[in-house]
Amino acid sequence: MIELAWLIPLFPALGVVINGFFGTRYTRDNAGHIASLMAGLSFLVVLGIASEMIFGSGGTHTIHLWDWISAGKFSVSIAFLIDPLSTIMLLVVSGVGFLVHVYSVGYLQGDPGYPRFFTYLNLFMLSMFLLVLGDNYLLMFVGWEGVGLCSYLLIGFWYEKKSASDAGKKAFIVNRIGDAGFLLGMFMIWILTDSLTYSEVFQAAPNMTAAGATAIGLLLFIGAAGKSAQIPLYVWLPDAMEGPTPVSALIHAATMVTAGVYMVARTSPIYAMGPGALEVIAIVGAVTAFFAASIGLVQNDIKRVLAYSTVSQLGFMFIALGVGAYATAIFHLMTHAFFKGLMFLGSGSVIHSLHHAPVEQQQDMRYMGGLKSKLPITYWTFVIGALAIAGIPPLAGFWSKDEILANAFFTGHYFIWGLGTAAAFMTAFYMFRLIFMTFHGEMRVDHHAREYIHESPYSMTVPLIILAVLSVVGGIIPGFPLEGGWIHSFLAPSLAKGGAGGHAASEAVQFVRVAVESGGGHEGPTAIILIILAIAIAVGGIALAWFMYMRNPAVPDDLASRFPGLHRLLLNKYYIDEIYEACIIKPIYRLMNSLWSFDANVVDGAVNGASLVTLVSSRFSGIFDLKTVDGAVNGIASMTKFFSQVFKFIQSGMVQNYLFVMLLGIFMMLSAYLFR
């Protein structure tokens, strides 16, 4: 089955071709079905391969298609790599992808750009598969940019809206900045290891210098930060909510943003050699988690809250990577994909049901409330998702997030652990704030839109239910005994052996292993305290949210009035966008215009100046010519006239005179000959 891996990208490619060329005319309304069919087929192939990988022999297989670029020593080929890490990613991508396809068939019913949307969606799946399947960095980069392009196209799907096309442009450019870092990292790799294929690079990794590895790590992390929206380059994700909700669900929750995490996990052998890079990643991850969670507290737009929660959950994943728990990071990635995808689709169905309300109110929680009775399935699936993300034990979130915090704690990163826990608390709080504001309390929806609110059709609710089941089950099965679950053993071969944080981390992990051997899972005394603490925080968060939004709704308002500054700061997202606007985009505009004016009048001016100089000199030389040269010529003319008067007498007409002059001539010649 594994040899058929090349089918996975082929199906979406087929979908793109069919919908792309024949979309507008022939497959007008069933473009959605074709796209979903293609996504489904590739999902089946993935299931086949996954079953072979999980239950069968496992190991790594590469399928070579053709040589792509070769220039001197540098040669790269199109080849796919199937190994545990890519299998897990394939499962997540194709699974969630297929569900989102089915969901969006219902969601985008009747939209004029219907076929175009599904062409882009299939194109996205194609690029994501390339990214995940590629057996070398360059092919991953192809998928990387392809995914960036699709996010640009999908965010700017409703291109009439200026904000949508701006958001798309912003997303692409910020991604491009990240890709620039990724490119430099790739060159560094090629310089140090003379190849870009994973197998060769990771063989050469051990003899890399620490400085080299760190440099590569940091450069690649810039790329990851760009793609997975970490601190400096996360600004595009909240704006990306302009796109249709299934897009946000698929791209900005489950798949694309996780590409950065996958890339860092994939290059774990190099990161193992460059501990400095891991430290940076951990810190950035923690700060992002805390920072984004804090912004999420006060947002009113339902999708923005989810966006910031994605950014903070990604922060968690990067904490896991930073502390060297690669498997845990991938595990959290998987669980996050499930419950975040669920919540985004849930919010989608909420917005879908409110599409009769005025546009700006459709996503604003202040104009929702009391939808529990109207949208039962959405409500219950949403609650499961919220519980999962908050980290309540039986559900998925608890296992993966707790493992991250445990790893952080045991590898000595207490500060990071602290930030992570605070972020977890805030996550729990704003998740349930969202639930209480949208589903509970009295109905604040616009009056005439109320009778239109009804449960979404089956094509939308079935994916919700599946995802809800996955959110529940997805945590326990793979990760039951903390730090020793099935997923760790499965992923171990394709990830570097722990080794994070250099010596400190490895002892800590050893310590945990010892703890695990001594009494199953994290039974070590400190581990148990940690687990209880995590659960307490989650429940505390929920209680606080319940208290503030259910018992007396006045509390949030007076809290806001008591700390107006803080409230406004958080509401306006720490003015990050404004800061970026001021200190990056504005100067670029100014520089651009000044350069253009510089080019227009200095360089061009120089050229025109040259022409001016020639003009002036030509005029001057004109005058000069007139006065002197011409004067000289006239002078000569008058002189000759004068002399001709003088010599006129020679032309006496007398032949003798002429002969006489001839005689003189002879005389001259002879004398010249004589006195030579």
Partner: protein, 522 residues
């Protein structure tokens, strides 16, 4: 060995032009157009054997034809094609077909002279790429100027005369300095090299490294100015926007597609192998200029309000990349630069065609005039999107392969160069996307835009080859790269030769040749 193929390819357009001039009356516009297209198609068919019968392992010149032309001063009619120039010749023939077809509706008055100029251009360009004798190269280099001057001067836009004269004088100034360089080489070869007066490049290659560094850098500067103006590189680029804005569509397609490549081709063919030590010495200077070109070009492109000017400045930026690749002086860099020349010809050529199409409909190039075109012209939008993505170097399309190789080469030369060049990629994406957004997204408010018609089959016909090439080079660049590999390897070997002989007499004295002290006078 006598091989008439190259002469045939080079002079078929000329023959066509002459026949056009003599046997076609001015009114038979349709016949003229059909004939002109026929000539270019025949020319393209003739050039196909260049692709099929090209021996990729051979680094030297193939399909060689050498006839002594002016023996007294050692000038020979020496045509030859190697890895570096074969693709450029093919690009020229393809672009000529596209340029001819695209100007059917664009040019309405004086068609006969127009197509004669176009065909003359073709001969000039093909000759330049095929000439192996420097004198012959210079002759063809000059020939291309005159028809382009007329193309811009007669059929151009509002400020056509200013632009035409500026273009002509600027390039002429450059080529005159280049002539100085050629003559210096010619005489140096007399003293130091083979002792015979010859313009033959293959012989001059031997004398190149032996020239003392002092003189070599002077010759380098002469060639540099000549080719830098043509490329155009940073300080000498101001003629390009004017020339592009005022030139007719076909004119700017050829100008961007082929003429700019003569500059970079000149560097790879003449400057690098002939003046290796000077090139090595000038690398920091050249790389600085090209990086400025990249970033400066991109930034200024962002500030443009005229589409064609924006694309012109983007060419400055792209060719900055090519020059960066060329002066990385390693196999990947030069190969990347060489491939990027072809890619730039295709993607920018296509961009100009597209701008031409919209200009024919709306007779304006102000970006603010357009908006929301994608709902009115879907096919046009998709082709524009593909071309734009190819020019900003999206993987899977041709731009990426070239750009990636250049950056790999530049990084190998020194990571500082690559770090700055990568900024160029980001800026490139920025201004192209901004343009795409302003033209195609947004609401369709301008009334004239509503009644715009989508691409006619003819327009799609001449855009199709470009798009096909973009995907072909993007997905499977193997045949292109393998053809250039051997010759670029030879150039790389020649450039990285040992340090130049110092300027002192002793060092300049290769065994047995008695030379006076290196007086500067000759």
């Amino acid at each position: 060995m006598e091989n008439f193929l190259l002469t045939l390819i080079a002079f078929t357009p000329l023959a066509g032009a002459v026949i056009l001039m003599l046997f076609f009356k001015r009114e038979q516009t349709v016949a003229i157009k059909v004939f002109a297209t026929a000539v270019t198609v025949v020319d393209f068919l003739l050039s196909i054997p260049l692709w099929t019968r090209f021996d990729t392992s051979e680094a030297g010149f193939q399909f060689v034809q050498k006839v002594s032309w002016i023996p007294t001063i050692g000038v020979s009619y020496f045509l030859g094609v190697d890895g570096i120039s074969v693709l450029l010749v093919l690009l020229t023939t393809i672009t000529m077909i596209v340029a001819t077809v695209c100007s059917f509706t664009a040019i309405v008055e004086r068609e006969k002279e127009y197509y004669v100029c176009l065909l003359l251009m073709a001969t000039g360009m093909l000759g330049t790429f095929m000439a192996v004798d420097i004198f012959l190269f210079y002759v063809f280099f000059e020939i291309t100027l005159v028809p382009m001057y007329f193309l811009i001067g007669i059929w151009g836009g509002k400020r056509k005369l200013y632009a035409a004269i500026k273009f002509f004088l600027y390039t002429l100034f450059g080529s005159v300095l280049m002539l100085l360089g050629i003559l210096a080489l010619y005489f140096v070869n007399l003293k130091l090299g083979t002792g015979t007066l010859t313009f033959d490049l293959t012989e001059l290659y031997a004398v190149g490294p032996k020239i003392p560094i002092g003189l070599q850098s002077w010759i380098f500067l002469a060639f540099f100015v000549g080719f830098a103006i043509k490329v155009p590189m940073f300080p000498f680029h101001t003629w390009l926007p004017d020339a592009h804005v005022e030139a007719p569509t076909a004119g700017s397609v050829i100008l961007a597609g082929i003429l700019l490549k003569m500059g970079t081709y000149g560097f790879v063919r003449f400057v690098l192998p002939l003046l290796p030590q000077a090139s090595q010495m000038f690398v920091p200077f050249m790389v600085l200029l090209s990086i400025i070109g990249i970033i400066y070009g991109a930034l200024v492109a962002m500030a443009q309000t005229d589409v064609k000017k924006l694309v012109a400045y983007s060419s400055v930026s792209h060719l900055g990349f090519v020059m960066l690749g060329v002066f990385a002086l390693n196999q990947q860099g030069i190969l990347g630069g060489q491939l990027q020349m072809i890619n730039h010809g295709i993607s920018t050529g296509a961009l100009f065609l597209l701008v031409g199409i919209i200009y024919e409909r709306r007779h304006t190039r102000e970006i603010s005039e357009f908006g929301g075109l994608s709902s009115v012209m879907p096919i046009y939008t998709t082709i524009f999107a593909i071309t734009m993505l190819s020019s900003i170097g999206l993987p899977g399309l041709n731009g990426f392969v070239g750009e990636f190789l250049i950056l790999v080469g530049a990084f190998k030369a020194s990571y500082v160069y690559a770090a700055f060049a990568v900024i160029g990629i980001v800026l490139g994406a920025a201004y192209m996307l901004w343009l795409f957004q302003r033209m195609f997204f947004g609401t369709l408010d301008n009334p004239e835009n509503q009644k715009l018609t989508d691409c006619t089959p003819r327009e799609i016909l001449y855009l199709l080859p470009m798009v096909v090439l973009m995907f072909w080079i993007g997905l499977y660049p193997r045949p292109f790269l393998s053809r250039m590999e051997a010759s670029v390897g030879k150039v790389v070997k020649m450039v990285n030769v040992a340090a130049a002989p110092m300027n002192t007499k002793a060092a300049a004295l290769p065994a047995g040749v008695r030379t006076q002290p290196k007086a500067k006078n000759f």
